[in-house]
């Protein structure tokens, strides 16, 4: 065995580390890269043998087709409206209940938190029938609102948990000081708690947005036309009875991915701060 100097050992361990990281990256990113490559080939070129890993001809026809033939922008709009409204609704309700759980002394504090957790752990498939019936009876089938309410229900548990742990970190003295300075609990919530919780709200909000944007089962069940159907669901309906337009489907996937990537890149600083809430002293 050759004995290595300290420098060489460090170099070796770093090389191994980067190699492992590269393998993981390729493993995760290859499907997405493959989808992207397919989407920019001219229609029909995806079936060419031998496979062109680097397309010889680049074309945006797939993208044009999905917009023109399927009015994909309407579905993107549906997704956007549903996910944004879900986020706002979840944050509004979730932050209030998280605040109550984190801050107020009441009898069923812990049991209510556990109840929320149990609801959050329930597989959504067991809820699909009752929710389908409820939404139908409310006359909210195939509407934005029906989907928003449903998505909010499933995002609330994680939001409450995240925000409750975030609020619990804020010093009690701040609220006591504000009370003595002449503020009622509701204005303290607005002027002290909310501004100090921005990172927590961001990370909870982004999680809710991504969950709603990527949710498939309820979106499929509760919506069926261009009025309310989301982009993700549309993509699954694109394979026709007589042809399979992989290029166009992949273009749809890329278009659906872009907003999520943008959001995560823009807000990653906030997300990280929110997810590590409580790890270090404020």
């Amino acid at each position: 065995m050759v004995s290595l100097s300290y420098r060489q050992k460090r170099l070796l361990s770093q090389t191994i580390m980067y190699a492992v990281a590269a393998i993981i990256m390729i493993y995760c990113l290859f499907p997405i890269a493959w989808i992207f490559i397919t989407s920019i080939k001219p229609p029909g070129a995806e079936f060419h043998i031998p496979i062109e890993y680097i397309p010889s001809k680049v074309s945006l026809d797939n993208y044009i087709e999905i917009f023109v033939e399927h009015k994909f922008h309407y579905y993107l709009l549906n997704s956007l409206v549903v996910a944004s409204a879900t986020t706002i609704l979840v944050l509004a309700i979730g932050s209030l209940s998280a605040y109550a759980i984190a801050r107020l002394r009441f009898k069923f504090r812990i049991s209510s938190l556990l109840t929320i957790l149990v609801v959050g752990m329930m597989p959504s498939i067991v809820m699909i029938l009752p929710i389908f019936l409820i939404i139908r009876e409310l006359g909210l089938m195939n509407t934005w609102l029906g989907l928003i309410i449903t998505h909010a229900v499933f995002s609330l548990p994680i939001t409450v948990w995240l925000l409750a742990s975030y609020f619990a970190e804020l010093p009690f003295d701040l609220e006591d000081a504000a009370k003595i300075d002449g503020y009622t609990p509701s204005s303290i919530y607005r002027k002290i708690i909310m501004p100090l919780s921005v990172p927590g709200l961001f990370s909870a909000g982004i999680l809710a947005f991504i969950a709603s944007w990527g949710e498939f089962m309820f979106a499929l069940t509760l919506t069926h036309t261009i009025q309310a159907r989301t982009a993700l669901v549309l993509i699954t309906t694109l394979p026709g009875a007589y042809h399979l337009k992989w290029g166009m489907i992949n273009a749809g996937v890329i278009l659906t991915l872009i907003p999520i990537i943008v959001i995560v890149l823009v807000f990653q600083k906030w997300v990280m701060r929110g997810l590590t809430a409580g790890a270090v002293k404020y």
Binding site: A178, K179, I180, T184
Partner: protein, 360 residues
């Protein structure tokens, strides 16, 4: 004129009695310090005056008004917290202005009052900063500023200096005292530091175990402690206590290791009270120590010598007892050697061994 009055106030948290049947008056325009060991209920007492806790029983009056049911935002009291509790997302200016904004004061008035307060506290150049850019002492001043800007009826201070370093603490102590004199606002000052409580307070309240042990001028609490708890808690280093019996015919105070002739007047009063088990108390500074034998002095062994700078703190061993004494630095003693000591008879305290109360 605003005095704060507590009548038979009790506060319990579940089974824990934090404050037990406390009745006292915080006098108008005076600075009253409340001192006691941690967990004695002093902070709870303060929070009840602030309105942050509601008494389980009893009444709290601010001025003539019963305030039990009045929420903190409707009481005109200001509070300084140990943690300062500055709002981290607001500038110093907005921190100080925050209580004025709650009262919807006109913008010009807010600006003027904040600027005046900042000048008074010598923090004018900090107004644009955020709390995280301030040092501990500066944060402390801002917290004070936020309290005085609104001209409250009562100041409440909850260990406001505990987070400062020793030098700054002594300095701010004087500043707070000066400020309180200047503004003439009734102030309740809670601390666990008995030296701080002694120096800053017009009146001293000692608490232990949820109960109020004694109320009085710092000097009289120090020179005539009501019981052994107050005697040992107030004053540093603490008063020496020796348990023993009185042989009443000879006026001798007897412990396992020491026989001490009490002054006749003390023996007489003690006899009248009918106490035989006694605790003899003497403060370290009231013990005279010499390195030679003199009349009336008792032989002891030097157990430990601690340099306090201005003087020496000696631990003297008699039999099983260790007695703390203060001696001038120029005395020639060594650890393990012999020292001779004598109690200053005018400064002796005699406590009842059963009730711990002061006899004479």
């Amino acid at each position: 004129m605003v005095e704060v009055r507590l009548e038979k106030v009790t506060k319990t948290f579940g089974k824990v009695i934090a404050v037990d049947n406390a009745s006292l008056t915080f006098e108008d325009k005076k600075l009253t310090t409340v001192v006691g060991p941690s967990g004695c209920g002093k902070t709870t007492l303060l929070r009840m005056v602030a309105g942050l806790e509601t008494p389980t029983q009893g009444s709290v009056y601010i001025g003539d008004k019963l305030v039990n049911e009045v929420p903190p935002w409707d009481r005109n009291v200001a509070m300084v917290f140990q943690s300062y509790a500055l709002y981290p997302h607001m500038s110093v200016f907005n921190n100080i202005a925050f209580p004025l904004k709650a009262r919807k004061r006109p913008r010009e008035e807010i600006k003027k009052r904040v600027t005046d307060t900042a000048e008074l506290l010598e923090v004018s150049e900090l107004l644009d900063r955020k709390p995280r850019e301030l040092s501990g002492g500066q944060m402390q001043r801002i917290a004070l500023g936020r309290a005085i800007v609104r001209q409250p009826d009562v100041f409440l201070m909850d260990e406001p200096l505990s987070n400062l370093d020793a030098k700054l603490r002594v300095y701010m102590r004087a500043e707070i005292k000066k400020l309180q004199r200047l503004l003439g606002v009734t102030t309740i000052y809670v601390t666990h530091d008995q030296a701080e409580a002694m120096t800053i307070g017009d009146t001293l309240v000692v608490m232990n175990d949820g109960k109020i042990c004694c109320i009085g001028h710092p000097d009289s609490v120090y020179s005539k402690p009501k019981d052994t708890f107050v005697a040992t808690f107030i004053g540093s280093p603490a008063m020496n206590l020796l348990e023993g019996n009185l042989e009443s015919d000879k006026g001798l105070f007897v412990t396992e290791s020491l026989k001490y002739k009490l002054p006749n007047s003390m023996t007489r009063v003690t006899k009248e009270k009918g106490a035989s088990k006694l605790i003899l108390g003497i403060r370290p500074e009231d013990i005279i120590v010499e390195n030679f034998k003199a009349n009336g002095f008792v032989k002891t062994e030097v157990y430990m010598i601690e340099q306090l700078g201005r003087e020496l703190l000696l631990s003297l061993k008699i039999g099983q007892h260790i007695i703390k004494a203060i001696a001038p630095t120029d005395i020639k003693l060594e650890i393990g050697g012999v020292a001779w000591m004598k109690f200053d008879e005018t400064k002796l305290h005699v406590f009842d061994g059963k009730t711990d109360g002061l006899i004479v």
